[in-house]
């Protein structure tokens, strides 16, 4: 090595690194002493999964809730079977109750008048006269069994656009 570099090397070697202050030394020594047992227990803690009391309670509660849920599901299922068995005659009654049905016997479409509406101009620049034809639609149903009648009248209208001659 170069003589000048050797001098620098020797100069550096003469320097001694400052010692550690007592605070830092104590803190680091604590790692070797107090933490010795803690460290080992920490290792064990990392390996063993504890099952604390609240987890046990939570598990028991979950089991109880699941059991109650299953019970209600069972009851609901059996109840539904009862409904089915009870509802069968109702369905039968509906099927057999054709006598209660109403049959349409009359429909009418009555013309009531014409009303002129606005005049509009189409995109082709042709004027159209809107004309409303008003009707009254009536329907009558009759029950064959007791002769009861149901009558319904519905107003309706149809709109026509009649081109206006401008010649």
């Amino acid at each position: 090595m170069d003589k000048k570099l050797k001098e620098i090397e020797n100069l550096l070697k003469e320097q001694k690194p400052c010692g550690l202050d007592t605070g830092l030394k104590r803190e680091i020594e604590l790692i070797f002493t107090e933490q010795l047992s803690q460290h080992e227990s920490l290792n064990k803690q990392n390996k063993i999964i504890n099952f604390p009391l609240h987890q046990r309670i939570a598990t028991a509660a979950a089991i109880v809730i699941a059991a109650i849920g299953s019970l209600f599901a069972f009851l609901n299922d059996s109840n539904r079977k009862d409904i089915n068995s009870a509802s069968t005659p109702i369905i039968g009654q509906l099927e057999n109750g054709e006598a209660d049905k109403f049959i349409p016997i009359q429909t009418e479409n009555i013309f009531e008048g014409v009303v002129e509406d606005n005049i509009i101009i189409s995109e082709d620049k042709i004027p159209y006269q809107a004309v409303r034809y008003q009707f009254s639609d009536s329907f009558i149903w009759k029950n064959k069994n007791d002769g009861a009648l149901i009558e319904m009248k519905v107003p309706s209208q149809r709109l026509f656009y009649v081109p206006i001659k401008t010649d």
């Binding site: 570099l5 320097q15 690194p17 400052c18 830092l24 010795l36 460290h39």
Partner: protein
């Protein structure tokens, strides 16, 4: 009883190597407090790794490995504190930190203190690559082979960086000797 022996072995090992490890940590960090934190963390890591009876390793680690631990911890520490440092870059906190930096080397006489201070400043000025090699070689008392293993670089690279580092220091400390 065995635990006490183990603890004493580690204490003895730390008394022997603590100062040089702290010096290495100082070269890797920006402040004295960071260097102490890095040293403490790296010792804790070594203790956790090497004191486990399950592994059958009771003895303190070889010193090159301890330097590696300090280096890795300093890298992790720099990553963690990088954002904080950026945030504090313009604040007074950083100024206070730099004011609190302790001297790196022991000196009793005033002239020695001046020399020690010059060397410390010079070491801070040179490239961190050179600084770490010089620290490991001079005060860590490692061979180039050990340094190469500790820093995961070829031994020749370690040797050449050492020479470049000394040359850089010479230019700072004795600029008129060219």
């Amino acid at each position: 009883m065995a635990d006490n022996n183990l603890s004493e072995q580690w204490k003895e090992w730390f008394h022997e190597n603590g100062t040089r490890l702290l010096l290495f940590a100082r070269g890797k960090t920006n402040s004295e407090q960071d260097a102490k934190d890095v040293l403490q963390e790296s010792i804790l890591r070594l203790w956790k790794s090497y004191s486990s009876k399950d592994d059958g390793t009771f003895h303190p680690p070889p010193i090159p490995l301890a330097f590696t631990a300090v280096r890795n911890t300093a890298i992790d520490f720099a990553r963690k504190t990088g954002r904080r440092l950026k945030r504090e870059q313009n604040s007074e906190q950083l100024v206070q930190d730099s004011d609190q930096v302790a001297t790196w080397f022991e000196a009793d006489r005033l002239i020695d203190k001046e020399r020690a201070n010059e060397i410390e400043i010079a070491l801070k000025k040179i490239s961190p690559k050179y600084r770490e090699i010089i620290t490991l070689k001079i005060w860590g008392e490692l061979t180039f082979l050990e340094i190469s293993k500790a820093l995961d670089i070829p031994a020749n690279t370690a040797a050449s960086r050492y020479r470049y580092g000394l040359e850089a220091l010479r230019k700072i400390l004795k600029p008129n000797t060219d």
